[in-house]
Symmetry: C2
Subunit: 253 residues, 2 copies
Amino acid sequence: MAQEHDRSREPMGALGQSCRDCSLSELCLPVALDGLTVDELSAIVERDSYLERGEALYQVGDAFQAIYAVHSGALKTAELAIDGEEQIFGFHLPGELVGLDAINDKRHPCSAVALEASSVCAIPYDQLEALAAKIPGLQRQLFRIMSQEILADHEMLHSLARRRAEDRLAIMLVNLADRFGRRGWSRDRLRLPMSRGELSNYLALAPETLSRLLKRFEQQGLIAANGREIRLLDRRQLDALAGRPDHPPGGSC
Amino acid sequence: MAQEHDRSREPMGALGQSCRDCSLSELCLPVALDGLTVDELSAIVERDSYLERGEALYQVGDAFQAIYAVHSGALKTAELAIDGEEQIFGFHLPGELVGLDAINDKRHPCSAVALEASSVCAIPYDQLEALAAKIPGLQRQLFRIMSQEILADHEMLHSLARRRAEDRLAIMLVNLADRFGRRGWSRDRLRLPMSRGELSNYLALAPETLSRLLKRFEQQGLIAANGREIRLLDRRQLDALAGRPDHPPGGSC
DNA sequence: CGTAATTTTGACGCGCGTCAAAGCTTGTGG
DNA sequence: CCACAAGCTTTGACGCGCGTCAAAATTACG
């Protein structure tokens, strides 16, 4: 549960199915909950369920029963716009939570779909709420996580709305690198879990524009791209494009 | 998104200074908390503090101590971008909460400034958290409010990012009308609390573009604008532009 | 290995930002 | 109560970033 320990580059190490150290880290991480709490939390968490590429964890309008912690793989949340086009709301990497936006009206406002073979833990919301009422540390932690999501959304919101395409891509790349980095992967080498089309969709760009930008970044020596493999070669300049003077870990999106 | 109960159309009724029914309505409204809870909540809420136009409730980086419920007037939350430009994150109308994005790292990530003479109630966060631990209904309510904010942000995010200027303005107008409407004001006649510059800033438009759009909307008979007074003349068409088939209440921004 | 889907490349056009300047407010001091 | 200044808001002219359309090149997958 400690942050930033430099894990092996093996995705999940030898932890296998146990939810304790992987998927729940978002809940346990920032302020270490004590062992008893973690045990109680583990007790209500349902065993991993597996999703194939393209399989939905839930659909728009489904009744809200649980929030989910991504264990391995990656998900996208999306809805269909009026014109029938998919609109991607966010990507969810291992260790992150999905479904927080459904608490209010007890229905999922978007679908969650696996980008690749993935596994997730379900945390039944009723029980989580009850447990949070019993354990102040957990309640606090939940408030923090939600606050963090609100903040990250605000930042993404304004990045997307008023930065140029170039900046948005830089923001996205360092954001992903940081989020993978937080889970123990390399901070300057990443494998994108989403297609170019999905990425451009999320960034509100035409796929063509994204393609051209990646090429330009490569020509400028900022990155090296090979399919979904991306290496960040000039982190300082990318950070500058992304509008951060130094590089504190970014928010989630 | 709160749900559509039809209150009296008088702005604040005769409630005067009492925080009980006005500023805290966001906390009490959707699922009525019982009387005892509301009393306990009222007990920890600090008396209204008044802000003049342009006065800051808090600044970027200030220590987080309380969340605030807008009682009257209106606030904007904003930060200064790298280039020195102000970037407006959101507007906060009577009955809405400000400061939820500061829970996570105990510092305000943006400033909150009064758009006009305003009054707010401070709700000390430590005490709120303690009370929420004691009263499950309140905890649940807080989770709901935060979830709602996350959802509303997601919606605004994608509105701003991938809709045309025209659509964004329509979205904003119906959004504001709904939010005022929820507080008992007219749903087709509103007085903007923010300047054109602030509105265009929030919508990520040039002020000139906003001006031209308003003119066009007027020529098309969608609205009647006179300074900050706006009348929505063709709600159906505005909803269509905003991308809603019918008009469910919009999110907050 | 063939077919479909994805990604890349090029040509072109439009929406919206930018610059400049003219109204139009709002506030302050004489 | 008017004069002048310092905003705001509007209007017009112009250019560029990025979307759109079309087609080639590459990759993914049965």
